[in-house]
Symmetry: C2
């Protein structure tokens, strides 16, 4: 599974504080730790700084890329912020995210059209957040088609079905899983990606729900995820799910990881 | 998920020893513990006693049912053993299992034909154990059809796709998961059931693989499982998977179980 490490997000107090005082050490350490744990992208989010978001991202990205040899996932709905980050980014970044909301789509399209960027395509429209698998598929259909028409390669599109909290409606887990399965079949060869932790909001034992959900999502075809790579339970589940999905030849990676249980 | 507690199996030393000396206390305690942990059926297996198997089962079943108010899952390929157990069994037992192997099928059919027993239908034929989902579906197709033709209600059939160890072939996980999904769709309203622990044979961290597999199997539609109900990790995963599958209204059972994490 392609993993995006979610920890460098300014909605977390430690990250906001580090950005505030330009504490590069803290940011770099989070990047190193996540890459070492298996992240293929480092998510960078400075959304809470609003006006200063472009400057913050432009400060964070080079610091992260000075210590890890992987791209960033630039996590913002703002074209100015994304552009500021891209200007200093090395390699192919992932943009998180474009959606079908008219203003957001129109603002971000020029950045991704004909580029070689990877793009998270979030199943959200001006009609609000989708409840059902059908609603997600309808949004994904229009979003993927428009992106492809504007020169984005299907293999660069990561459809995010939009995970909503199970505590709000007990159908939200299964509707999301069904959407993942259908997107992977109907829009092949796009990827699917999820921010997992939303699923467990408001419920006890969130990590149990998160790791069970990622296992079920893997069984439904999910091939990328935005996760905390330092959450051993989630990472263990991901390694087991890869082996059980036949994506780990001879279970070599699984055996390598678990040969000497701690 | 409908759970069959697997612990009263004479291939386990403690169980064999208890049967040998007619230690009813040990057998009863295992039944009570499994029922309290959520088992809907108590598996009883005395296969290692060969000639004495019918007598052993006929001794075990009444002892188990004297302390728990649930049926047994009579785990034997032998019609004599099953008949001996059924003679003393109260309520509707589950038979584990009939298969497409000619001798086994012909021997067990008279017991289940037109009865109200629940029947595990194991995807095994005289051609050996199936490797692929297609092979499992072909066996399931013939087996389900023949059982239905002989008066077994589809809702009383629990198709076991036959879980093979992932260590033998890294496609065995995904082929089994695909088989579960297809059986649940193509042969609705039959059930599917798995003995989980085979999947992890020969690999490290077996419980991690078992609980990840049951989560993925639940996402693929599995609605029953033969498990160790005292394995907290597996039971936690099953409760989370039920909530995430939309089978736990308002997540009430999940919240009840996990409200006060230990």
């Amino acid at each position: 599974m392609i993993l995006v490490g979610e920890l460098i997000n300014a909605s977390r107090k430690a990250v906001a504080a580090a950005i505030e005082v330009e504490d590069a050490y803290t940011i770099k350490k989070m990047a190193i730790d996540q890459a070492a744990a298996g992240a293929a992208y480092i998510d960078v989010n400075a959304g809470i700084f609003v006006e200063r978001e472009p400057a913050c991202l432009a400060w964070m990205v080079p610091r992260i890329q000075s210590v890890v040899d992987i791209p960033c996932c630039i996590d913002s709905p703002s074209p100015e912020a994304i552009e500021a980050a891209l200007t200093v980014h090395k390699g192919r970044a992932m943009i998180n995210s474009i959606s079908l909301e008219r203003r957001r789509f129109d603002a971000l399209l020029p950045l991704v059209a004909g580029s070689d960027l990877q793009v998270v395509a979030l199943c959200m429209s001006d009609d609000g957040m989708p409840d059902t698998a059908d609603q997600r598929l309808a949004i994904a259909d229009r979003l993927v088609n428009r992106l492809v028409q504007h020169g984005v390669a299907p293999t660069d599109i990561f459809v995010d079905p939009l995970v909503q909290p199970l505590s709000t409606d007990s159908s939200y887990g299964i509707e999301c899983l069904v959407a993942i399965r259908r997107i992977m079949v109907e829009f092949e060869p796009v990827h699917t990606i999820c921010g997992l932790s939303n699923i467990s909001y408001g419920l006890p034992r969130r990590r149990l729900l998160n790791r069970t959900f990622v296992s079920m999502a893997a069984a439904s075809g999910l091939d990328s995820a935005i996760v905390d790579p330092l959450d051993k339970g989630v990472m263990d589940a991901i390694s087991a799910a890869a082996a059980l999905s036949g994506r780990d030849d001879h279970c070599l990676e699984y055996i390598q990881r678990h040969r000497h249980p701690s």
